[in-house]
Symmetry: C2
Subunit: 607 residues, 2 copies
């Protein structure tokens, strides 16, 4: 069993969950009526121990031992199998889903905080578990009663794994070009059973030895279906066929041709899978023919939010590593007192600045993700249709930001953590450099940053005729106006207003570009627009948390642990706005120039 | 022999060397009177082949086989040894130094372009060779005739390696706290020979099997010397003692306790060295007692420029990798033509934008480094004392930018390259992810980014009463004024002027902070000031090159390879200013807020 590097302070997770979010609203829903705040608190306690004692020790094993490939099988490190057993047996795989199939049915913000710990302990392990819950949930949502009875509980309980098969060697971001095909299999006597053929690449959890079976949810085109995404269907393709009585049958002609050797995530099996090489692969159609893309989007959206959660967990652990190192490592005096003795580098001004970037950045992401998962629960459980719809819309609007921005930001934050630690940060003795290598993946899978930005600009801004987006901007303006000139946050609300104006101006411009046919300006700038919008949202949430912390601080004893925490939280809001939100203004300058130099030159000029 | 990934187009190196720089000025110096432009062109041709055929094949071997440690010895991959032989025997180790000791004595901008290739082929290999030349040059500069005769030629010719020993387990950025000590050794009969004791850490090339001996240049304190950097002396400490006749003597009690396992640079031996564990380590004092720090700064400054050169080479190779992939990889249609067929992703707008970031960024760095190396030659060879001093001053002013900014920027650019390539960029099948892992080191060694920013703000801005810095700002203003309203670059010169104003304003503020004792605001913002200044310099150089390219374009046939190249060069200048230089304005906003939240909260609030 390896050393565990997980050493989070859980105070901020508790603040977000129990102080920032209005949990009472969730607790009044039927689905959660049997839970109390105390339950959640105990769950956080337990999750913390699991992260530290069960998942944490797998981090370096995954990275250093990695995976082995043996005749079509992928072998994980032993500690992964031990860890899996504990997670599966204690119900940690399917926290936020279907209690009727063995899931815990927890409110999603609680699961988000648990995942914050788990992801920070080893995101590799979370990729496997997330796919069990996610793929199982897709079957729970769209499967027949028979499908649900056969698969869901086994997946939620971690007896069987899951995977999602979209990407092919020749179809990545352009998934509509996939070539995998499905043909009816009359010999099966079941019209929902098809023969499957095709190759999928970059399939996370595509093969491994953590579970006795793996249920692949894969996209394929039924012969004769329309081209593009409109003709794509979704299939349940078990690695080992499942008999109608639930017992395991024959291997299903799914061959794992190997796994990718990656920058990080060495413990996560990213596989190439060949389906039906011997003509004996069968799949069960999930839902109607040609409805696969829309259904896959449920899983995709969950996975996109989940990616934000991964980014949060890893960035937070990078902060933990850097902060604890900075407390221990003694070096020369601070700049402001050159004649002093050596001090822990946490007293060096530049180190303090970098730690504050890490602190305020991870806290902002934590607040945002928890809030979005809160909206997801409202969207699912709220009886009032208007409120339900409003929550659903906001979640849809912000999901691309949670995916794209958090992924990129987390990578940047790992860089700051390495820099705080100097040479030690660059060495594998500490996990900081691994966090960087692991999390770089997040900006690529489940739709790259660019794909998210197109989803945002091309679909989300115009939802409900633009009223969802406009409503959010109004909310910010009202919020900022209410606190203009605040004694602690005056400049910050000023910056927030200006940033929201930039975001509004750009959305306006985009409408113009669509209308005038100046389309090229959209994809040339959409990732930057996405960043502006995300930073504005993160600033809003940081300030909401900062105001609350100030209020709470007034009620606790000066110098107490709580008072210190709240003071830090106020500073986080200020720091975030004054040092990170300001990036909006660089992008504004750039966007306004409408530069097309990247497209104006011929392709051959790129040498 | 591994596959070579080196596949640079050398057109830009040739533009910088033969069109942008005024090589005639250098060729009139005595030191270079035997060279012609044709010689340099042939050298570039040869260097290209060496990078591709000799160094390139070591890239993956270094990363994947890495180093082995065996009873105190560090074993490099076989291909490293083969490569070394070719480099050493053909004079590639000491291109820009002392012809009287076997160096080629090339102008430094030529060596810079060669290193741009070599570093891009495998920066690991360059770290070893750079230390031979650098450490040898320090002995050439400050050694006695006997020292020079004994060591320099052997080092320049790669028979012996070199290392620089500053960092200790408890002294990193605060090198003045080092504990290694030197005591006179009367038994040696030579007052310059001392007994050496101490431990050095993070010593690049501290042990390896590429050479029969390694000459460590290490800092230690002679017993009784003052505390801090003022009491530090420099010693020549051979791994194997060198007899007065040049033959190798006994091993010199320098034990390599192991090497670091790092994020990247797996082929570069970053060693912990124990000197004198058995009381038998001897070193030769180089120069006067207590003058070590100042002398080490010669090597440090060379190494800092060299680090910029490493960053350039690696970033350029990341661009090469991404560009070539983007030409090959077919995916869906561009955004502006959704109904079109699939195209190579180089036609996708967002990919084009990222490639342009890579193109304009590497070209700007290439122009800057070559120009600074040009100044280094003027500083060394110019007979007119005023011109010589002016060049020396400019080089001093800009060296921290070349080191810090290029290091950080190169890491960012490797991220862009990975993102262009999507999943492929994240896999080890391509070298993009290795470039990211390798180059991350550059922002740490030879003085971190923060240390560079303090050198800039604390020393360089005030050189000659601020006239060097002020002179540069005036130069930019004159340049921008002369081209205001230019038909191609009008907005760019506008941005350049504004950026220079920001830089000037901040230098002014810093003077105020020093004067008012508001010292904390300096280290809290100095890295960002450094970035503003670097981006302004890179924009200036990009525009100088852009104007020249436009002029040249007018003289070549339309549609010719040269015309395309020049067109791309014009676009690079525009793109750089409109998309990268604009970052200055975010930092301006931040700097003006004088935020001290990172220092205002107590240390305990960092949880």
């Amino acid at each position: 069993m390896g050393l565990s590097y997980f050493q989070r302070n859980d105070r901020d997770a508790r603040f977000v969950l129990f102080e920032y979010l209005n949990l009472d609203q969730l607790l009044k829903y039927d689905a959660f009526k049997d839970f109390s705040r105390d339950d959640f608190s105990m769950i956080l306690d337990e999750a913390y121990k699991v992260a530290r004692d069960v998942i944490g020790p797998t981090l370096k094993d995954g990275d250093e031992q990695g995976l082995k490939y043996l005749d079509g099988d992928v072998i994980t490190p032993d500690s992964f199998k031990d860890c899996w057993k504990v997670l599966a047996e204690n119900g940690w795989l399917a926290m936020q889903v279907g209690p009727e199939y063995g899931g815990q049915g927890l409110p999603q913000p609680v699961a988000c905080m648990v995942h914050d710990f788990f992801n920070g302990a080893n995101m590799c392990m979370e990729i496997y578990t997330g796919l069990c819950a996610g793929a199982g949930h897709l079957i729970e949502s769209y499967g027949t009663e028979e499908d649900k009875a056969l698969f869901v509980e086994k997946m939620y309980s971690g007896v069987w794994g899951g995977s999602m098969g979209l990407t092919e060697p020749d179809a990545g971001s352009d998934v509509g070009w996939l070539r995998s095909k499905a043909t009816p299999d009359p010999s099966s006597g079941n019209p929902r059973i098809y023969k499957i053929e095709g190759t999928k690449r970059f399939i996370s959890g595509g093969n491994h030895d953590l579970t006795e079976n793996i249920i692949h949810l894969m996209l394929a085109r039924i012969e004769g279906a329309p081209a593009g995404t409109r003709g794509v269907s979704l299939f349940i393709v078990p690695k080992i066929w499942v008999n109608p009585d639930g017992s395991l049958g024959e291997p299903n002609d799914v061959f794992c041709g190997g796994f990718e050797h990656k920058m990080g995530l060495h413990g996560s099996a990213t596989c190439t899978l060949n389906f039906g090489e011997n003509g004996r692969c069968r799949g069960i159609l999930l839902g109607e023919p040609n409805s696969g893309m829309a259904k896959m989007f449920q899983l995709m959206n969950e996975a996109r939010m989940g990616t934000g959660n991964l980014a949060l967990g890893v960035a937070a652990s990078a902060y933990d590593t850097a902060r604890l190192y900075a407390r221990d490592r003694i070096q020369g005096p601070p700049f402001t007192d050159r004649k002093a003795d050596r001090v822990p580098i946490i007293r060096h001004e530049d180190v303090r600045r970098m730690l504050m970037t890490l602190k305020s950045g991870t806290e902002a992401m934590r607040g945002m993700l928890a809030k979005l998962y809160f909206l997801a629960d409202v969207a699912m459980h709220e009886p009032d249709p208007a409120k339900k719809k409003a929550a659903e819309n906001q979640l849809d609007l912000f999901t691309p930001l949670a995916k794209a921005y958090c992924s990129d930001f987390a990578y940047e934050l790992t860089r700051e953590a390495i820099q705080v630690m100097g040479g030690a940060g660059y060495c594998r003795e500490y996990p900081a450099e691994q966090y960087a290598r692991d999390i770089k993946s997040a900006s690529i899978y489940e739709g790259t940053t660019y794909i998210q930005s197109l989803d945002l600009v091309g679909r989300k801004l115009m939802m409900e005729g633009g009223r969802v987006f406009g409503g959010w901007l109004d909310e910010i303006k009202t919020f900022a106006a209410a606190h203009a000139g605040d004694k602690d946050f005056g400049p910050d609300f000023g910056l927030l207003t200006q940033a929201a104006d930039v975001v509004a101006e750009y959305a306006q411009r985009y409408m113009g570009y669509f209308a005038d046919g100046r389309l090229a300006l959209i994809p040339l700038s959409s990732t930057r627009f996405q960043e502006c919008m995300a930073e504005t949202l993160l600033a809003q949430i940081s300030l909401e948390m900062g105001l609350l912390a100030r209020e709470k601080k007034a009620g606790v004893e000066e110098g107490s642990a709580d008072a210190l925490y709240y003071q830090g939280k106020i500073a986080s809001a200020q720091y975030y706005c004054r040092n990170i939100l300001v990036n909006v203004f660089a992008r504004q300058k750039s966007l306004a120039l409408e530069d097309t130099s990247a497209l104006d030159i011929p392709e051959e000029a790129f040498i």
